[in-house]
C-alpha cells in the first residue's frame, strides 16, 4: 500500500511542475515588459522610465527567468502569490476573501445534485428503455446543452422579474442561494445522472444479480442491496472527482448572479489586468484537480485491493 502511494506521489510531480510552469509563464508569453503592464495596471498612467525601473527592481524582474521562476514557485507552494497589481493586498488574501462564497455555492449544489442524480439514475436504470428512462436521457442531454448563463437569466426573469419571489443577484441569505444553485445543479447533475444509470445497469447485468433473482429475492432488495452496493464504488469515485470544481467550476453562474466567489474574481481580475490573481487561480485550480485525483485514487486502492496489484 505504501509503495502504491509513493508511486502515485512520484507520478504527480511532473504534472505539478508542468502546471506551475504554465501558470508562471502566463505573464511572460506576451511581447513587452511586464513591468510596464504593472505600472499601467497599478497607477493607470503611461509608464515612465523611472517607474518601470523601480517596479523592475522591486519585483526582481531584472533577474534571470529561471531564478524568477524558482522564486515564484517556492513562494507559491507556501501560498504566497505576491501582491495584487491593482489592490494593496496579497493575492492570497483576495482569494481567501472569496473562497467562502464559492464553497457555499459549490457544496449546496454538490449535495442537491448528488441526491437527484442518484434518484434519477436509479429510476432510469430500473425502468430501462421505458418512458421514464427516455425522459431522464433527454433531461441530461438538455443539462449539458443549455448554457448555464442563459438558464440563469431565464430563472431571473421568471422568479425575480415576473413573480418577484427571489432576488436576482447578491449574496447573503438562503433566498440568494436558491437560483444560483438551481442553475448550476441543472448541468451539474446531468452527466452524473447518466453515470449512475450506466453503473447500475452494468451491475445489474452481473451473475450475482441473476443468482439473487433466482433465489427469489424481491426486486427491491436485488437492486438496492446487491446491484447498487457494487455500483456505488465507481459512483462515489466519480462524485468525489467533481470536488475539483470547487475553486472555479461555476464561473458562468457566479457572473450571472453577481455571486462574490472565485469565478467572479477570475473574470474581474482579467478585466482589471490583475494577472498575479489570474496566475494564482490557474495554478490553484490545476493543483486542486491533481490532488483530488490523487486522494480519490488512493482511497479507491484502499477500498479495492485489485487496483494496487493490477497496475
Amino acid at each position: 500500500m505504501l509503495r502504491y502511494i509513493a508511486r502515485r506521489l512520484l507520478q504527480i510531480v511532473p504534472t505539478l511542475l508542468g502546471i506551475s510552469i504554465i501558470s508562471f509563464s502566463l505573464l511572460y508569453i506576451f511581447p513587452g515588459d511586464p513591468a510596464e503592464f504593472i505600472v499601467e495596471a497599478r497607477y493607470a498612467v503611461e509608464p515612465t522610465q523611472e517607474m518601470v525601473k523601480k517596479i523592475r527592481m522591486e519585483m526582481g524582474l531584472d533577474r534571470p527567468m529561471l531564478v524568477q521562476y524558482l522564486d515564484w514557485l517556492s513562494k507559491a507552494v507556501r501560498g504566497d502569490f505576491g501582491k495584487s497589481w491593482t489592490e494593496d493586498k496579497p493575492v492570497m488574501d483576495l482569494i481567501l476573501e472569496r473562497l467562502p462564497a464559492s464553497a457555499q455555492l459549490f457544496f449546496t449544489t454538490f449535495a442537491i445534485s448528488i441526491a437527484f442524480a442518484m434518484l434519477l439514475g436509479i429510476i432510469s436504470a430500473i425502468y430501462k428503455d421505458r418512458a421514464v428512462d427516455h425522459f431522464c436521457r433527454i433531461f441530461s442531454l438538455l443539462g449539458i446543452s443549455i448554457p448555464s448563463f442563459w438558464l440563469g437569466l431565464i430563472l431571473i426573469w421568471i422568479f425575480s422579474v415576473q413573480l418577484r419571489l427571489l432576488p436576482a443577484f447578491g449574496y447573503g441569505g438562503i433566498e440568494h442561494l436558491i437560483l444560483p444553485v438551481l442553475t448550476w445543479s441543472f448541468s451539474f447533475m446531468a452527466i452524473k445522472t447518466r453515470f449512475v444509470r450506466s453503473c447500475l445497469l452494468e451491475a445489474l447485468s452481473q451473475d450475482y444479480v441473476i443468482t439473487a433473482r433466482a433465489k427469489g429475492l424481491p426486486e427491491r432488495i436485488v437492486v438496492l442491496r446487491h446491484a447498487l452496493r457494487n455500483a456505488l464504488i465507481p459512483i462515489i469515485t466519480y462524485f468525489s472527482l467533481s470536488i475539483s470544481h470547487l475553486i472555479v467550476g461555476s464561473i458562468m453562474v457566479e457572473v450571472v448572479f453577481s455571486w462574490p466567489g472565485l469565478g467572479s474574481l477570475l473574470v474581474e481580475s482579467v478585466f482589471k489586468r490583475d494577472f498575479p490573481v489570474v496566475q494564482a487561480l490557474v495554478f490553484i485550480s490545476g493543483v486542486l484537480f491533481v490532488i483530488v485525483n490523487l486522494v480519490v485514487d488512493i482511497l479507491y486502492a484502499v477500498i479495492d485491493p485489485r487496483i494496487r496489484y493490477g497496475d
Binding site: L142, W150, V270
Partner: protein, 286 residues
C-alpha cells in the same frame, strides 16, 4: 462498387438512429439559416434608435435590441459567426491533436512519456479558467481580435484529440493485423494509411462532433463574459451579454440567442451520441 454498397449500408444505419437524425436535422437547420442569412435577414448592423427595444412583431420576429437593430438578423448572422469560428477551432485542434497523439503513440519511449505528461498538465487545468486567462492576456498583448479566441481555445482543445489518438494508436500497435503487416515488411506509411487511419477515424469523428458542441458553448461563454468576439460582429453569447441589462424590459434579447446556443449544442451532442452508438458497434466487431 463494394465501397458504394458499404457506404449505403452505413448511411442507412446512421439515419435509422433517431439521435443522429434529429441532431443532424437541428444542425442542418441552423447551418442553413446561417448560410442564407444575407437572403432571409436584414443588415445586422443597421441601427434605428426610433425602434429600440421593440418586442417581437411581424416586422421584427425576434424584436429589436437596445440600438434598434433587428434581433432576428443578428441571431441568424450569429449562426455564421459561431459555426465558422467553432469549425476553425475544431479543425485546427484536430490537426494538431491527432498529429501529436499519433506521434506519441507510434514512437513510444521518451517522446511518449513527455507528450503524455504534457497532456496530463493540460487536462488538469480547468478549460474555461485557462481560456479566460489566455484570452485576457492575449487582449493585453495583441489587442482585441477574434484570433485571440481561436488561439486560446485551440491551446486547450487539442488535448482531447491527442489523448484519444494516442490511445487508439497504442492499442492498434499490439493488434495482430498490424504485427502481421510489419512482419511481412509493410512500410510505416502503408500501415498508417491502411490500418491506423481507418480504425481511428470513427472515434475521432465522434469526438469531433461532440467537441463542436463544447467549442460553441465555450465561444458563447467567452462572448457572454465580454471576452469573446467583440461587437458589433453578431455573436450569440455577446448578444446575450448585452441583453442581460434589459432583462426586465426586453427579455427577448436574452431569450433568442440563448435558444440558438442551446439548440446548436444540443444538435451536436445528439449527433455525436448517435454516431457513437452506430460507430462503436462497428468497432466492437473486431
Amino acid at each position: 462498387m463494394e465501397f458504394a454498397f458499404a457506404s449505403e449500408v452505413f448511411r442507412s444505419r446512421i439515419f435509422k438512429n433517431n439521435l443522429c437524425t434529429i441532431g443532424f436535422g437541428i444542425i442542418l437547420f441552423i447551418a442553413m439559416l446561417g448560410l442564407l442569412a444575407p437572403v432571409i435577414a436584414d443588415d445586422p448592423y443597421k441601427t434605428n434608435l426610433a425602434e429600440r427595444l421593440k418586442p417581437p412583431s411581424l416586422e421584427h420576429p425576434f424584436g429589436t435590441d437596445q440600438l434598434g437593430r433587428d434581433l432576428f438578423s443578428r441571431v441568424v448572422h450569429g449562426a455564421r459567426t459561431s459555426l465558422f469560428v467553432a469549425m476553425t477551432i475544431s479543425l485546427i485542434s484536430m490537426a494538431i491533436g491527432c498529429l501529436i497523439g499519433a506521434v506519441s503513440g507510434y514512437f513510444g519511449g521518451i517522446i511518449d512519456d513527455i507528450i503524455g505528461r504534457i497532456i496530463d498538465v493540460f487536462l488538469a487545468i480547468p478549460e474555461l479558467v485557462f481560456n479566460i486567462a489566455l484570452v485576457g492576456i492575449f487582449c493585453v498583448a495583441y489587442g482585441v481580435s477574434t484570433w485571440n479566441v481561436i488561439l486560446a481555445v485551440v491551446i486547450t482543445n487539442w488535448v482531447s484529440y491527442a489523448r484519444i489518438t494516442r490511445g487508439i494508436v497504442l492499442s492498434l500497435k499490439e493488434k495482430e493485423f498490424v504485427l502481421c503487416a510489419k512482419a511481412i515488411g509493410a512500410r510505416d506509411s502503408y500501415i498508417l494509411l491502411r490500418h491506423v487511419i481507418p480504425n481511428a477515424i470513427g472515434p475521432i469523428i465522434v469526438l469531433a462532433t461532440l467537441n463542436m458542441g463544447n467549442v460553441i458553448m465555450t465561444i458563447a461563454s467567452l462572448g457572454f463574459l465580454g471576452l469573446g468576439i467583440q461587437p458589433p460582429t453578431p455573436e450569440w453569447g455577446q448578444i446575450l451579454n448585452s441583453g442581460k441589462n434589459y432583462i426586465t424590459t426586453a427579455p427577448w434579447i436574452t431569450f433568442f440567442p440563448g435558444l440558438f446556443i442551446a439548440l446548436s449544442v444540443l444538435g451536436f451532442n445528439l449527433l455525436g451520441e448517435g454516431l457513437r452508438d452506430v460507430l462503436e458497434k462497428r468497432t466492437l466487431e473486431y
